[in-house]
Symmetry: C2
């Protein structure tokens, strides 16, 4: 294992000079810099992470806390994680992967040990246990998701309120007057995950404004659950012609069951989904949808965090504006007979 001292000796300079070449914190003459850089190359030197962390009290590591739960749609989490890792590397940081298993203790451990310089908690609940700890530490953090009280916190999320409103508007403009919302599994609402409730708020308030009737039904994924849910919806509101789906594993079942019950999409009923673009495009009917900007969320979170680590960041809530893409699953409401 090559050390700084060896590089220094090889280049004929002192250790501190090599350090300054590496960090750029003091000016170094061009000649010296080149000699040092050549020595680094030739010896294949890599600074020792532990020593660096100890001396500088910066680990250059960001902790990403992902949920353990499997009822959250995994591909979105994965996409965010990859975007976080990639963006972090671009800024010279590595990413530590923490699962929800440890709970709030993970925050204590990581900040206490100096393992990570900063944190990105995902899957934030409205009244998350980690919030007091995050507020009480000097390590910066950026949440992905929105808790109830954001004072003193920096958050990134899709603007789910606007998303709900946007979906409803789209269907209302097409003439739909009875709209059903297929939501996430009941557990998601019980846990008070912010995004599900905020979507609903957006849908509801806009529906009131536009005089549209709304029926909300949480739904577990899969065919059986969807079948029951759908039957109930048509039972209760036979005039339903519009659907907003916010549950990835209910999308395909919904389409299949509509088909099966003789309702054509988009001729008889329209469907708007809130889901990753890939899923919207691979579904059996190309879905009009609002995309979950997973990559964007991961990227922005890291950028905000890096700004904070460099002392220029400030607490703010970044809500990404939703974008609705019209595809083949939505069309004018059928003429009322």
């Amino acid at each position: 294992m090559v050390t700084l001292a060896e590089v220094a000796q090889h280049a004929g300079v002192s250790a501190s000079t090599v350090s300054y070449v590496l960090s750029g914190k003091r000016s170094i003459s061009a000649g010296t810099r080149q000699r040092v850089e050549r020595s680094i190359q030739e010896l294949g030197y890599h600074p020792n992470a532990g020593a660096r962390a100890l001396a500088s009290s910066r680990s250059n590591i960001i902790a990403l806390m992902i949920p353990l739960r499997t009822d959250m749609y995994m591909p979105v989490m994965m996409e965010i994680a990859i975007a976080v890792a990639t963006t972090a590397r671009a800024h010279g940081y590595d990413v530590l992967l923490l699962t929800g298993e440890e709970g709030p203790d993970a925050v204590r451990r990581v900040t206490g040990s100096g393992l990570a310089d900063a944190m990105i908690p995902m899957d934030v609940e409205l009244d998350d246990e980690r919030l007091p700890l995050l507020r009480g530490t000097d390590r910066p953090s950026v949440l992905i998701g929105l808790p109830a009280d954001t004072t003193g916190l920096t958050c990134v999320d899709l603007d789910f309120g606007a998303t709900g409103a946007l979906c409803l508007e789209h269907l209302a403009k097409l003439g739909h007057r009875d709209i059903a919302v297929i939501g996430e599994a009941p557990g998601v609402y019980e846990r008070h995950t912010g995004f599900a409730e905020r979507t609903l708020d957006g849908l509801r308030s806009r529906s009131r404004e536009l005089g549209v009737r709304l029926l909300h039904r949480p739904c577990e994924g899969g065919y059986d659950a969807m079948s029951v849910t759908l039957a109930r919806i048509f039972d209760e509101r036979p005039s339903t012609t519009g659907f907003v789906v916010q549950n990835e594993s209910a999308v395909e079942p919904l389409l299949a069951l509509l088909r099966q019950s003789g309702r054509a999409v988009p001729e008889d009923v329209s469907v708007v989904a809130i889901c990753p673009d890939q899923l919207a495009m691979q579904a059996s009917v190309r879905l009009t949808s609002v995309a979950i900007p997973a990559q964007e969320m991961g990227r922005r979170a890291v950028e905000l965090l890096v700004a904070k680590l460099e002392g220029q960041g400030t607490d703010e809530v970044v809500l990404l504006p939703p974008e609705l893409t019209v595809r083949a699953s939505s069309g004018p409401a059928p003429a009322t007979g």
Copy 2:
């Protein structure tokens, strides 16, 4: 930030004693141990990760290298990653998340800097660029996936050869004589990812033994690609009654298209999938399938790695035996008319 020295002073012992209480590497009297432990509790002490890494040249971090590609099925990757993180924590290790972006340099950087004690490369290609580096370092590693040459390496993977054989056997026993294999996207085969080819080998060799005709077609996911592929298959082999699918995003399209073309599952054609159980159970027809044991793979990889780190491990290839679960998508071949 509380330090070892402060704990020592608080407990009225020397720093080294506290260190030995923490590591258990020397015997400590019960009284002293308790006093030290109480001080640790009261002061809320967490050992500094950098200092520890520097002094012991062990970071207690495992690097997990995940692929950037999006054509691999994300949920499986995610499930593995979570299992790795959870198991690692149970053994006192943290997990560093590395993406494929850096390529082989990531291996150099991590080993060179002592950032991680060991590595788990995922999505291993048959002739992976990282292999020489892994063989040439003294940091242990466990691959998830199987390269062409495994000498000097430890690997964990599903036994895809046996998986192929098992699928074929199941359909053959049911009387199917013409079987089509819907494979991964062509890119996966071009990249020489081991698992796809090994599955095919297993299918082919068993088909020869059992006198079954096999037709293999790679397929991009989604409805359009599947539609074209399916038409070609029935065109070339109208007598096809059995399908083996190894492509998560082709599963639902296949079922829909079969339905659409008037073929009932399992009455007219049988389908066996190689995919995560969740997907098999949520599909529009509950699929007879061989599960991808993602959690098991992640867990085993970490356990092998920890054994190696403790000096008791040995190079070996662990192939998890496939398990076929019969569900509603496979049945006796229709009587030939």
